[in-house]
Amino acid sequence: MGIEELVESIGSHVLTTTLGKVVGWGRGNSVWPAQFGLACCAIEMIATATAGVDIARFGSEAMRASPRQSDLMIVSGRVSQKMAPILRTVYDQMPEPKWVISMGACASTGGVFNNYALLQGVDKIVPVDVYIPGCPPRPEDLLNALMILQERIKAQGILPRQ
């Protein structure tokens, strides 16, 4: 029985609802971030992983060094013009599905450094799912963003991202 027949027989709504829910639940509750610490926010990102608020409660403590095993890129800190192409390469190396959180004012817009050296917003080179304002945001803020992202992922289910 081919995959089309399978879909026919169990009905496409099952794929998009039941299976979609399960997959969305799995993906949402197991978001492994890639280490992409750049500056001040990176320290707060590390702090998020430590005992203070403990991102492990959300199942996201597995900060893999290799982008191949990551689902989420937390761009934490200022992205310089020199760093931008590298950031893009790392993003490209992550397998689908993948998400991006832009942490802090510098990553999102450049913040106070409205000048020649910084990329004014990481969303110019990678699609950003959640922005966190703050310079740097509190660790709780990152968790809040992660929860917003989890809702998004769960709603997205198995469908490809828009």
Binding site: K82, G110, N114
Partner: protein, 167 residues
């Protein structure tokens, strides 16, 4: 300031003074190596930093040259510090490298080259250090715009607070 050592004996000093408690001397740019060598012989063995100041359109006084190179040296025994200045002009401005007298000057000179375009003669590896290799211009010169973007608001506006009016 103690006017000790051979620096003053050799008449390298053009001008000297104290600014906000810091002793400084000015030397001819051609003599910079000799001046720093004599200071080093005198015990000022630590080059604290080396940088450049761009005096373009600076009305506060009459400057001998557009680019002022600043060398801060310190004697770690007597805890004296002294600032050596040299004024250069031209495009690109040139001065002798002191990386072999003071090893930390190596990166400092590269940085000054990168950000100000000051060429240090005989520097072994005078390439950009902070900016990408293919960058055009020297960002810390006063005539280089700060850059950046207009802050987003919901409506168009012309006010842009952080843009410097006179660069």
């Amino acid at each position: 300031m103690s006017s000790r050592g051979p620096l003053f004996a050799e008449n390298l000093v053009v001008e000297r003074g104290i600014s906000a408690g810091d002793a400084w001397v000015t030397v001819e740019p051609g003599n910079i190596r000799a001046a720093l060598q004599s200071l080093k012989d005198d015990g000022y063995r630590l080059l604290v930093f080396l940088t450049c100041v761009d005096h373009l359109a600076d009305a506060s006084r009459k400057w001998p040259g557009r680019y002022e190179l600043v060398y801060q040296v310190r004697d770690m025994e007597s805890k004296d510090t002294i600032r050596v200045r040299a004024f250069v002009d031209g495009d690109p401005p040139r001065i002798d490298s002191v990386h072999d007298l003071f090893p930390p000057a190596n990166w400092d000179e590269r940085e000054t080259y990168d950000l100000f375009g000051v060429v240090f003669s005989d520097h072994p590896e005078l390439t950009r250090i902070l900016m990408p290799d293919d960058w055009v211009g020297h960002p810390l010169r006063r005539d280089y715009p700060v850059g950046g973007e207009v802050v987003e608001f919901s409506e168009e506006h012309k006010i842009w607070q952080t843009a410097p009016e006179d660069a």
